[in-house]
């Protein structure tokens, strides 16, 4: 850590800290009377002791002192503070760091120490947290790891602390990594723009650097420029803002399209099981959402067992949950078909009421077994986080769900087309009596078809548990959307469900920014109603005699 930053002028905080030192010196003096300690009032030790004072502003002062102290322990202490591993004992003014393994060391010396029981964790609020981030930024600018350097440069970019400028420049001199270099340049530009005594030429160059960055942060930075900047700078900032805005508008279209695809994949997942039970079999299955919910709860149970017994397997939890969710939901589906629905074929109103009652029973059963509260289903590491594509960020969980929805669709299509079960299913749904006279056990096929639809819904539940609440009400929120997709796409046609889901998803997401979430949803419903007037059988209508059967 370089010493040059400690020379920077920060008269006010100096004054405050001087007052604090005086106070601290007094304390030390009184302590010295009773205990024979070497009363060396070194500034670093005093700054650390401020953490024990308990107030947020004292802690902020301490962080500022540490940032400029150049002391080798400063980074460890600030890092511990950020992670909530810094403890302070108010009585003895001693400060401790607890490492991940639970061992405690004295914050100042770094030597192992036993922490008194009364020691409390040093509290953070947002203001202090921002201060800590800025300090960590300038403390890690010269870190050997380029990723840390980039993060540090971004922290400085946000804090725009003029005190960090010499450090940034020193770091720029040495920097070889291009990504880190551009981050550092941006950080430097941000500081220069807000430094009152920077020259106009420097500021113009800074505007150009920020413009090249071109994201929302850049826009925020430029639009918050102080009013007293030179005219030329203000003008170039304005034109830069206009350029960035038009570029961002383009990206926001791409982003809406991506959001639409992502929503479409969720709709597809929710609806695809229904495309079998309602679309192919014609059962108005109001309990479809509950099958999704059961799949999600299966995931929860699997994760719960893994968490307690085999924590290392956590990343595979979803893969294990998939077949189980299919089996559990399919079993329940078959049970429902055998005990209730088979007596109601051809009586849509009764089916509707009966399956709705079943959905309430299933919900309450789950509520009884698992409690009414949300259950936590974790994201495996390969589904967490996001990556940037141009100016939009794509989260892994949404990407995986999109892939997963498409995969299920393909598998289901293949099952219907290429397997014996699929053939028999199509035969039974197209002409039951003919199929029966060909020797197909139609009752068995009915049960299996319903089981397949329910099982697919269960699988969808595994995926939806990653983005939604796992609660007994999970299914209810999807039932309307699922019916909408199937009816819109065309009953009895899987391709219709696919196209329906994605077109509804994309239409919804393009409407939402203008109309808002509530109106957007209403608009979609109205559009569907109008569409159904025109094409009562949906996008992809079945033709031929099968329709009348």
């Amino acid at each position: 850590m370089s010493l040059c930053s400690s020379l920077s002028s920060r008269p006010r905080s100096r004054l405050i800290s001087r007052a604090r030192w005086l106070l601290a010196a007094l304390v030390v003096a009184t302590v010295a009377l009773t205990t024979p300690s070497p009363a060396t009032a070194a500034p670093f030790e005093d700054a650390v002791a401020l953490f024990a004072a308990g107030s947020f502003s004292d802690s902020a002062t301490a962080v500022g002192e540490l940032e400029t102290s150049g002391h080798p322990r400063a980074l460890a202490i600030v890092k511990a503070l950020q992670d909530g591993r810094l403890f302070a004992d108010e009585a003895s003014k001693a400060v401790f760091i607890k490492d991940e393994a639970g061992k405690t060391v004295n914050a100042v010396t770094g030597e192992p120490a036993t922490m008194p029981a009364e020691a409390n964790v040093v509290r953070l609020n947002n203001r202090l947290r921002r201060r800590v981030e800025a300090a960590l930024g300038s403390l890690t600018l010269l870190s050997p790891d380029p990723a840390t350097r980039i993060a540090a440069a971004q922290a400085v970019y946000k804090s725009r602390d003029p005190a960090a400028l010499p450090m940034v420049e020193a770091a720029l001199q040495k920097e070889t990594n291009s990504a880190a270099k551009s981050a550092l340049n941006a950080a430097r530009a941000a500081i220069v723009l807000f430094k009152p005594d920077a020259s106009e030429a420097d500021k113009l160059a800074a505007v150009a650097t920020v413009k090249a960055r071109g994201d929302q942060d850049a826009l925020a930075l430029l639009s918050s420029l102080p009013g007293d900047v030179p005219r030329a700078v203000a003008e170039s900032a304005n034109s830069a803002m206009a350029t960035i805005k038009s570029r961002l508008a383009l990206w926001s279209m791409v982003q809406d399209a991506w959001y639409g695809l992502s929503l479409g994949s969720v709709l597809l997942l929710a609806a695809i099981g229904l495309a079998i039970t309602f679309g192919v079999m014609g059962v108005i299955n109001m309990a479809h959402g509950e099958m999704v919910m059961i799949g999600a709860y299966t995931t929860f149970v699997v994760q719960d067992i893994i968490r307690t017994s085999y924590p290392s397997m956590f990343d595979y939890s979803l893969l294990i949950a998939l077949p189980l969710a299919f089996l559990v939901a399919a079993m329940i589906g078959i049970l429902i078909e055998r005990t209730v629905i088979r007596f109601l074929y051809g009586r849509p109103l009764e089916t509707l009421l009966a399956t709705w009652g079943l959905s309430l029973i299933l919900q309450q059963a789950v509520r009884t077994a698992f409690g009414p509260n949300n259950r936590e289903v974790g994201n495996p590491s390969w589904m967490s986080g996001a990556f940037d594509l141009g100016q939009i960020s794509i989260t892994y969980n949404r990407l995986w769900i999109l892939c997963f929805a498409l995969a299920i669709f393909v598998v289901l299509l293949a099952v219907l087309r290429f397997t014996r079960l699929g053939l028999e299913m199509r035969a039974v749904t197209q002409n039951r009596r003919m199929a029966a006279s060909m020797g197909i056990a139609t009752a068995r096929i009915d049960a299996l078809t319903f089981g397949l639809g329910s099982g697919i819904a269960g699988i969808a539940g595994v995926a939806l548990s990653q983005i939604d609440n796992v609660s007994p009400n999970l299914g209810q929120s999807y039932i309307i959307d699922s019916f909408m997709v199937v009816v819109f796409g065309g009953v009895g046609n899987l391709w219709g469900t696919l196209v329906g889901a994605f077109s509804l998803g994309i239409a919804n997401k393009f409407l939402e920014p203008f109309a808002g979430a509530v109106l957007g949803k209403i608009a979609i419903l109205v559009l569907i109603i109008l569409f159904i007037q025109k094409r009562p059988r949906g996008l992809f209508a079945l033709k031929g005699r099968a329709v009348e059967a």
């Binding site: 959001y259 309430l360 936590e376 979430a517």
Partner: protein, 444 residues
């Protein structure tokens, strides 16, 4: 299309209410009243949803009431009589709330009812309580603009939660730009109306306020969150005031984490997110986001410690969290006990008359008082979410010395209600107009 027969009445102290609920549903029979106990017990109605969407929040309150009643009975009951809980399940179905309330008062002859969560359910039972002249204790923070003779509001009015939270953001975080994000129903709409008026009175220009609503149970937050992000990149410090209710919160916070909005950039202060709601989320990406309540489980007082200990023992679950509406029931129930003892009667009229002025220690080191407008005085805390799912109180500095704020039924910032006053002691009126000097000025 309602199976109105989902009802049940479980026996007092029954921990098998759940089973009963499920079997009641299965049978589809309206079972009632095994509770014809001896005459020397006093019945207390508990009107909280045990099924349907609101069960997530309200079940806890039912358990809390059972615990409080159990505890009071161990102390010998009230006026020498044992208390007996009558639990009904209005199933998150607003009209059913009114039906069940009527059943409690007329059939079970309860002396007092503790219940409701959503404002629509409260509005639905109001006429019943007025007509049958009984007492309702309502424990949840709400939008205000109401004061009824038969209702005692132990949750926060907007001036005890929303406005102090906004003040905190203005003062501590120097927020200049505001997103008011809410679920589309009466509580967020009214609260946001009050907040908008308040912010404008503080000189915030209209273009710096973005009001946005989403439907109940909304789960695809991608567009909304990126809208917030864009709104926040205008160079002024931005904060989100969230009146998002119920299940929609989890995907909202998940999306905030996904899009990398940290509390240090755009803090979110929520009025409906408590310890209970956080139990279903990984809170690490949320550290630093805020909530405003009148109680936090993490507040370290002997009363609170004892309460939590008892709660864990009663529910036989050492991990079960406590929350703000539970504390409101704790205060409300004890106030009712004191009022009954003061009136020496269970008669609703006498108890209603005795309640204003009753003082009861809350769990955070202060003493709350029932005011003539049927609201109570409460401390206001701002807490930051921590990695363990609890809240770290950041305002006031010492939670135990928090100032108590009297609940204001009629907001001072809305044109229709700023002249109204509620006083059931001297004026005997819930909406007295100070300008026209008439009772029954404008009511919401």
């Amino acid at each position: 299309m309602t199976f109105s027969t989902k009802s049940l009445l479980s026996a007092p102290l029954s921990r098998r209410g759940w089973l009963a609920a499920a079997s009641g549903l299965l049978l589809g029979l309206s079972t009632f009243g095994t509770a014809h106990a001896a005459d020397d017990t006093i019945k207390i109605g508990i009107l909280h949803s045990l099924s349907g969407t609101m069960a997530i929040s309200e079940t806890t309150l039912k358990d809390a009431m059972l615990m409080l009643i159990d505890e009071q009975n161990k102390k010998g009951g009230v006026l020498g009589k044992k208390l007996e809980a009558v639990v009904v399940d209005p199933a998150s179905n607003w009209p059913l709330f009114a039906e069940k309330a009527r059943e409690l008062i007329t059939k079970d002859k309860v002396s007092v009812v503790f219940g409701c969560w959503t404002s629509v359910s409260r509005k639905s039972v109001l006429p019943v309580f007025k007509e049958l002249d009984s007492i309702l204790f309502y424990p949840v923070q709400y939008e205000g603009e109401e004061s009824e003779r038969n209702v005692f509001y132990t949750g926060a009015a907007p001036n005890q939660q929303a406005i102090p939270a906004v003040d905190y953001l203005m003062k501590e975080e120097k927020v200049k730009r505001w997103v008011l994000e809410g679920t589309d129903y009466v509580y967020p709409r009214t609260t946001n109306k009050i907040l908008e008026a308040y912010l404008k009175s503080k000189g915030v220009p209209a273009e710096d306020i973005l009001v946005n609503y989403t439907p109940f149970g909304f789960s695809d937050w991608q567009t909304e969150v990126s809208k917030i992000k864009t709104f926040g990149s205008a160079g002024k410090k931005t904060a989100v005031v969230s009146t998002i209710n119920g299940d929609a919160n989890v995907p909202f916070y998940k999306e905030l984490g996904n899009q990398g909005i940290k509390a240090t950039d755009i803090p979110v202060v929520a009025f409906s997110v408590g310890e209970e709601e956080l139990a279903g989320i990984d809170t690490k990406p949320l550290v630093g986001h805020l909530a405003a309540w009148n109680y936090f489980e993490s507040i370290n007082t002997p009363e609170n410690k004892a309460f939590i200990k008892e709660w864990h023992a009663f529910t036989k679950n050492p991990k079960r969290t406590t929350n703000d509406p539970m504390e409101a029931h704790y205060i409300g129930f004890n106030m009712w006990v004191k009022a009954v003892e003061k009136a020496k009667s269970f008669d609703p009229d006498k108890v209603i008359a005795a309640l204003p002025g009753i003082k009861q220690a809350n769990l955070t080191g202060g003493v709350s008082e029932m005011l003539p407008n049927h609201h109570i005085t409460k401390p206001v805390f701002i807490g930051e979410i921590q990695a363990d799912g609890q809240f770290n109180v950041v305002s006031p500095d010492d939670p135990k010395k928090a100032k108590l704020v009297p609940g204001d039924a009629w907001s001072d910032y809305l044109p229709g209600s700023k002249d109204l006053e509620s006083d059931w002691v001297t004026l005997k009126c819930g909406n007295y107009n100070k300008v026209t000097k008439k009772c029954g000025g404008q009511s919401s």
